[in-house]
Symmetry: C2
Subunit: 228 residues, 2 copies
Amino acid sequence: MGQYDVKSEVSDKYSLRGRVFNKLREDILAGKYQENEELREVVIGEELGVSRTPVREAFRQLELEGLIRIVPNKGAYVTGITAKDVRDIYMIRSRLEGLAARWATENISEEQLDELEETLCLAEFHASKNRMEQMAQMDSRFHEIIYEACDSKMLEHLLKDFHQYVSRIRQKTLSSNVRGNESNEEHTKLMEAIKAGNADEAEQVAHMHIMNAYENMVKNGLLEVYNS
Amino acid sequence: MGQYDVKSEVSDKYSLRGRVFNKLREDILAGKYQENEELREVVIGEELGVSRTPVREAFRQLELEGLIRIVPNKGAYVTGITAKDVRDIYMIRSRLEGLAARWATENISEEQLDELEETLCLAEFHASKNRMEQMAQMDSRFHEIIYEACDSKMLEHLLKDFHQYVSRIRQKTLSSNVRGNESNEEHTKLMEAIKAGNADEAEQVAHMHIMNAYENMVKNGLLEVYNS
DNA sequence: CCTCGTATAATTGTATACAATCATACGAAC
DNA sequence: GTTCGTATGATTGTATACAATTATACGAGG
């Protein structure tokens, strides 16, 4: 998602620009910068030991990714996330995850199905031991497998972008994850629909899964950090 | 949407980079370049009377917009669209247009509702006179009003990106538009659902509208230009 | 005739220099 | 004291110079 993009393989990792891009994205998603904090080209350049040119190019990409906002002749600022943004993302994701589940049902391979089961099993294990960090990791992996299995670079890219975007939230809300079991149950239902080849069911279950996740966040007041 | 972005206001129009970006985007969407045609930085720069720096920055953005593909140390190439890309876009759009219709139902203003009716009226007029070019313009405008009315910058940006992307197809298929009346009827149903405040109905109708548009393209063999 | 290696040219990647724009500080006028 | 205008500095925007990489041409060897 640049701020909402449609189709690219991004950022060769070994050019200076690629390194700047990846480093800044990582830092922003990790919460290193404050919202609306200004990023100066020379400062970032000095930190990474490069000139302004690759930094500027990385900035342009980060702007389209939606992570920073560039004001002409003024500067680059880290974008904030509002409660409404979070809502929008979850609603959009719910529809797209549904579609991904449908396509995954039609295209998933034996190996991917296997990995899905394995991931789910591990998630339940970690949930039972109350290891929320690892449980969340399995949760993410479960969704990623579906993105890959849906066999659409376009949809996969979109969903990964949104997922990344939302991970900024997780940074703040992970601790209070009380939805482990519920989430795993829904994953199980989804996997069974996919396994049974029931695309309509899979789409519906995946859709509701995201909607429920959002409802849960609201109910538990996890969005109240975004007051603006 | 760069290739799939999530949230940006793009490209200040008055910088050289912004001009390069807009010009190239326009040209690519208008079909000025062949698929996989190489874009050389100096050539583009000379054409527009600017140096390589703004051209390179524009390239980075166009890559994220999905209009070109950059191979490190090699060059920038205009991306092609395959029949599968078209299918993916339409399926994704069907879900997102549905969501946009839902939100529009909840947020649309009197003025916007008015403009919607007016646009629809004009579309029917042009259709009756067999003026497909103008009819298509009204069609686009109808959707745009909904994008704006849905009151979500994020969704609006996504849908406009996809719409733009798909407009490359229209360039090739507009002539054989035999769906004018059907399309207008569906628009009417959608508008009435919005007017009645029936969000569920609006989402469903908008969803089916895009699905039908796609089915129609397939049925009429309009995708056979994309053989790859 | 084909294959491979090297040399040359062309192109992209990065750094730096300069121009344009914007922010701040200071002082004059009221 | 407040307001406005100007001057200075800082920052971004663009152009150019140089480095690194890649493509092409050509010839030697088989």
